[in-house]
Symmetry: D2
Subunit: 137 residues, 4 copies
């Protein structure tokens, strides 16, 4: 899927990603696209906090990141994902600082459905959340 001039693909991916107002609000950046992975990064912003005592990110924000990273992973790595059919997220550890880095991998590219799995880590590479989405082609 990667081309000789990979930067062009990355630039296109960034444009597609930023079409969504919610993605612009999240401040998402496409960090890298390899033959096996798409990496998306999200900066900190104070509105995403759930528990103000420990300053942890809301599970819905982590879910959004897993959902969207999986969808763009499918589309960037040879499949077609138009919408999310369903999403499963496991929360492993409170996310208390940014940036958050999401790494998506294809599980299965299919005609009707594709599945991708995504891991979210903090800057110290600690696993914060992980999950998988099933996407309609």
């Amino acid at each position: 899927m990667t081309t000789p001039d990979n930067r062009i693909e990355l630039a296109d991916l960034r444009k597609m990603l930023h079409l969504a107002p919610f993605h612009r609000w999240l401040g998402l950046e496409v960090v890298d696209l390899t033959e096996a992975e798409l990496i998306v990064e999200m900066p900190w912003r104070d509105e995403i906090v759930s528990n103000p005592v420990i300053g942890s990110v809301h599970g819905g924000i982590l879910s959004a990141l897993i959902d969207l990273t999986g969808l763009y992973t499918i589309n960037a790595l040879g499949g077609t994902a138009r919408a999310t059919a369903d999403l499963h997220v496991d929360f492993h550890r409170p996310a208390t600082s940014g940036p958050l880095r999401a790494t998506g991998r294809v599980v299965k590219l299919g005609k009707q459905f594709s599945v991708a799995e995504t891991r979210i880590e903090d800057a110290a590479q600690r696993l914060l959340a992980s999950g998988r989405g099933a996407y309609v082609g």
Copy 2:
């Protein structure tokens, strides 16, 4: 769980809900609490859009609503939910207008973890998304 003076409980629930900066950003309101259900409403805001062509709400926002409604449902109806262990969401139909109404129900109250299920409907009572969370006590 409801008391003779139910409005006080609702007021407390609203305060708890609004401790989270992300809940304030979402503009959440507790609409009702019965013996079996907690109803939470979320107004429209343009930043939550995913697909700008059809103006549909991001799956991560719907996931957030299912996650948080389930957690407060457990806490409001006799259980203890401190954090979400995992979340499963099915997306049924694009959500293209607000407000969104989330109705949470207890599936199982447990010592170690509890499970709640939540349905999100639009103003025309069409089912947009539904799912379940497992919450650590």
Copy 3:
């Protein structure tokens, strides 16, 4: 979906259910079909045990029951489910005696896929497991 002569539909459903060798091994019986629910019952058999100390049913057996009850619920109540796309199961309590009763309900009938949720109870009506499947039409 139910007809004046409901027994004929139930008889057809039983035949369809028993086409699967694994369903015959499980000894499944269709107990009832209403406008909203399909109820399937499974007797005890010693080979389904996971933990021999407490004599509890294997989670895979409960998963099978949730999977198949949801699929037949979709087909019995106006939808088309040819195969399971994905399955989510929450285990609430060890199942230590039979029969097990599974009650399926439609969450959403769709063209591409449908979602059903199923609860499994023991003879004392204690909730043992519950979950949902997404089925391809």
Copy 4:
């Protein structure tokens, strides 16, 4: 986790696995345990078929294999998994011949909960199903 005399650990794991009557019925074998993976194999048997026309394995059997492989993966690789809290399975392709090979990997070892993911492949290494379980410690 692997010891100099790895065969002893494997032998113990086999014994533990075969304590469950359902595992004996499935004919499970522990194939390998590395620092990162546990591999379990299941032979064909005719009673596990769901669709008799194409001769495909029942989703509940695949779910059982994902559930149990994840649980033993956690226990074999440094964690403690006493029971499954919940299970998510994606079905990618009909499984029409044996043996089925399940490969489990740890996602997260935790005190309260651990998460493992498992892939099932056929003899031609085609991915048939995959999923993840959350296990109570």
